[in-house]
Symmetry: C3
Subunit: 461 residues, 3 copies
């Protein structure tokens, strides 16, 4: 209690300073690209583009809006499950995502979209999608820290998280020329290890003081299902949003749709077998059902075949649910890693699986399956890597996975150290997972006698 | 209570066995179609398709995602209205839909999408939409049984439901060559009578033992409105998703948009007039407002005219609300049909109306209105049915309606018989409509002390 | 209490009479346009349109569905925040929007889409978007009156609101030839002043009698966040839905995306600095975060530059939050304007800002930035206004803003007078903000002893 958790100065200061910095940097660096500026009509004529529909906007905008919903409603409501931290879950997700997308446009712009002629970053709808992707990594990391950090800490976590993301993304996609349209490696693996390492550095031995708040109430679990379902439904858009036009986007949707469907069944199966009377645990339903989408992120565009996608979802649903049953408790007890949302089970493990599957699928690609042109298009065997073979590609895919893990671990350790400084207004152990709404409201949430409930059951009928 | 409701073995067993079966069958039968495989670029060249935009993906993907939301959030949250069965409503909807779409891809594939050359089913985005449609029939049936069956029973209901659906769909659309883009007959009429017959076979004379759980609480009704609104808003996508490119999809959206708007007003009117002081019943608002979309399913692509669509919505809103007021109580008392969600009012009656309207509108089509080509395109008067007249078409439309009803009644009776076997772990009468969450949580739902509060705070952590 | 609040006759009467009137007027006036009728194939050939994709449907449908979600879920759930008026908030929003879109198709049709040849209104997807836009103005006005008016009053408010909207829209867009794709002036400024003036006329001196209901409970605030986020996420679609094909829609999305992101940060900053310990107020988070989208409505298509958009969001977030802190209390105490949702802060002020920004941005446009053709396309300097300069355009933009304000004030005064008549069944002061659910349900909300409830009521106000 003695702890100073007042952020009345620090939070507004950070928000204002960083937002003003964004305005200045945007003013210096960011412009519309040729598809989003008024001279598009001239570009069209010059390039003999017959119709406005060829504007990338019409290829990507529907997927962009779906991804946007995943970032703000999907991640946001998935984190409303705590009985007294629903405001913090959805609200702080909103804050850091809104900041992160701006910083991401700059960071990714400098690495990927810089126009040599005038030194400006030219943006269009694809940049907006990539900014949302970049922020997803930080929101995953937030999941590990949910309820235990201050919004100021989250802003710092996001500032460095986006920066690290842009660098590892550049290394993996540009230098290693690995493919990762849905970000199993770049987004999920990095984001999860980044958050878990931060949570490890910020370990709270006395967190049990707020254990009675570390559960859900009935309706907070229903709110969380809103997040789960919008993530689940729109994941095909997530894995296809920046895939190749035409068959690339088309195939990525099919593969993701199937992987997700399979992981739902295995999640229900493992959850049911693990509980008395075969009841189901809402924690598993809310999270492990999504593992198939995470694991399909790297290979979404590949010819992994429909049944291959089902196998991916089948395995990742099982592994993720086992994670919630055994790995999370083990990590907390033994490794001193407190993972509020269980991101290790939903993002770390399925993300690594996705990276491995991507490497194997790439290495086993063949002209007989892809067709000569198809192989070149799918893996972009052009320019510098025109002579690369699929086996070599598989190796580079694997290398990308290690880069993602390394950035997560090292970056998380550094940022965790910064966040450990006693200046960020983080809550006392007894006040974690608490929106600290006024007392009478308080009554309303906890009803008569406050009592903790960790178990959340869905019955056999 | 003595009843064995333990599904700790049966549910996992069913999930695993069926998911593994799906993987094997997909491995044998399912492949990407030419628009979703890497050789698309070669197909394009061969067929002189000038741009990737001509890939069917870009015609149908936005509607697909809307339909996907209707299936998982729309149906799922519509079934959260019960005060203590919100987990079961949204959760089991999730489970059976995720299984059903896989089985539907196979069943519909064998009937519609089999490639003679290699005996494989070739899938693309249109198949994903059709799979979602197919599952909708089973989710409608679930609405009649909500809270009274076990997830194992639901899996069986879905296995047979999808199978029956694929057959009746083949008969109605292929053999009879009837049109039904929004599935008034194929989806709603079939699904509703399938579910109602099952519910009739599974009649529970002592269900009154759980009457105290057969209502809503304030916030569970608000959750249900999420389902209602996403169904209502995206219904134009539902009725246009697989309609003809161009004017077909365009017109289906307009007709559905208008029919839905009209049924909202008549629903509010009848609901208000039926209650003391003109109050409104949330059951009506949550359900009958959707009747216009159901009734417009068959004729959505036809030149029914905007005011025709309004008339359809006008009537179906009235009939549906009257259903909730009089037909449902009558069915329960006299016919011994316990219809938890009132699907007879939302799907059966409006579905039949939709089928009839479709038949009449088809029979009264004319070249003067449609134009010569327009008439041929709209009704696909080609190949085998090149010489069919609109009057004959009207007759076949009516025949389709009877096929849908027959499949629902006969199929429901058979499947109901199977589900009556005492091996499925269905709940005792006293435990229906109950998620059986732990006692302390229980307190939380029905909670104790009244207290009000004005201020709302989100904390610094 | 003596007051007659019974609308059992009046509400059904209004719904039936108006819906029947809609059917008749649609029958006389409304037809499909050439892109939505079966003769589209002939139009295509005649106009040498190579593909169905050139049907406007494919340019606008995804944005339309997003706008549709904003109208029904966005506005609807934003108004569920009151602890005991969640049914009324989302339910009456549903009713008046469903009526309004029909009336809007007629009113806007007569002014914009009348076919001289046959005197019919020809509709397509763009009309559906415009109808949703038109209704948005009335839903904004509803926000000021939330909980204090009867549904019958809301139907009257909507009937006149849509009528006034169509006229001011015609003057601003057609006669003044001002640009306002996202409706900062036409929708937000007009709607807000219309609602505020009505609320001023209907001032309730004794409203304090229901002050205990004029707050939220924990979960009703979470429900409201659903509305906030869907408005926030889909606002780029709102501001681009009817923008020019190609770069116009593309740029409008980028500008809106950035303005919204900036207003989130400044809203959090001001909210935090204004509260003890830097806590945050959910009222601010739910509303002021959207101000950037409102303020970007007029200039969304202009070359305002990405950093310009950030500045717009930066300022409007600050102003809107200050509005909630100081202007709303001042208006209620001094000006006798009771603004339930604070629409003055979310729509009036940001709307006016948007209009001013639009005027300035237009006046400062130049060929060097836009390109010669780009300038003509963006401002439609064709036909009658072919010789208009950007400075003159700026003047006309400013004139448009005054027209919007004038229509809001004068129209609101007139309609307010009509609504003051004692015949509309509005609630007594003590019964405001109350869904008046049956006693047992009532218990359930404020929760005392568990009890079953079958009936679920939404009140007459």
């Amino acid at each position: 209690m003695a702890k100073n958790t007042n952020i009345r100065i620090s939070l507004p200061a950070v928000c204002f300073v960083w937002q003003i910095a964004m305005i200045i940097l945007f003013g210096v660096f960011i412009r519309y690209n040729e598809e989003s500026e008024t001279r598009w009509i001239e570009h069209r004529r010059r390039k003999n583009i017959s119709t406005n529909l060829e504007n990338d906007f019409y290829y990507r905008y529907p997927s962009f809006q779906d991804v946007h919903v995943m970032i703000f409603v999907g991640f946001g409501f998935l984190m409303t499950f705590l009985k007294r931290y629903s405001f913090g879950g959805v609200g702080f997700n909103f804050l850091i995502a809104a900041f992160g997308i701006q910083w991401a446009l700059l960071m990714q712009g400098w690495f990927h979209y810089l126009d040599e002629n005038d030194g400006k970053i030219k943006i269009g709808v694809e940049n907006l999608i990539n900014a949302d992707f970049c922020v997803a990594g930080c929101l995953i990391a937030y999941g590990a820290c949910l309820g235990k950090v201050s919004p100021v800490q989250l802003m710092v976590l996001t500032l460095f998280g986006v920066t690290l993301f842009a660098v590892e993304e550049y290394i993996i996609l540009e230098l290693l020329h690995a493919k990762d349209p849905g970000g199993s490696m770049v987004i999920h693996t990095f984001g999860a290890y980044y958050g878990l390492t931060i949570s490890w550095v910020l370990y709270r031995p006395m967190l049990s003081q707020s254990r009675h708040l570390q559960g859900s109430v009935y309706h907070s679990d229903v709110f969380a299902m809103i997040g789960t379902l919008f993530l689940w439904m729109y994941w095909p858009s997530f894995n296809s949003a920046i895939a190749d036009h035409g068959d690339g986007q088309h195939r990525a949707v099919i593969n993701t749709y199937l992987a997700l469907a399979a992981s739902v069944l295995t999640t229900f199966a493992i959850s049911s077998i693990s509980q008395k009377h075969g009841k189901l645990d809402m924690v598993h339903i809310q999270n492990a059902t999504l593992a198939g989408g995470v694991a399909m992120g790297t290979a979404s565009e590949f010819m992994i075949t429909p049944y291959g996608s089902l196998i991916v979802g089948f395995c990742s649903g099982i592994i993720s649910t086992f994670g919630y049953l055994f790995v999370t408790p083990f990590m907390e007890k033994t490794l001193k890693i407190q993972d509020t949302c269980g991101i290790h089970n939903l993002h770390a493990m399925p993300g690594v699986i996705g990276g491995i599957i991507g490497a194997i699928t790439a290495a086993s690609a063949s002209e007989s399956v892809y067709g000569q042109e198809g192989l070149i298009n799918t893996f972009d065997f052009k320019e510098a890597v025109a002579n690369r073979t699929v086996n070599i590609q598989g190796g580079y895919q694997a290398a990308g996975l290690f880069v993602a893990i390394a950035f997560g671990l090292v970056g998380g350790a550094l940022v965790g150290g910064i966040l450990k400084l006693p200046i960020w207004g983080d809550p006392a152990d007894a006040n974690c997972f608490d929106d600290e709404v006024p007392e009478d409201e308080d009554e309303n949430i906890l009803s008569r006698h406050p009592n903790m409930n960790h178990t959340r059951g869905m019955p056999d009928a």
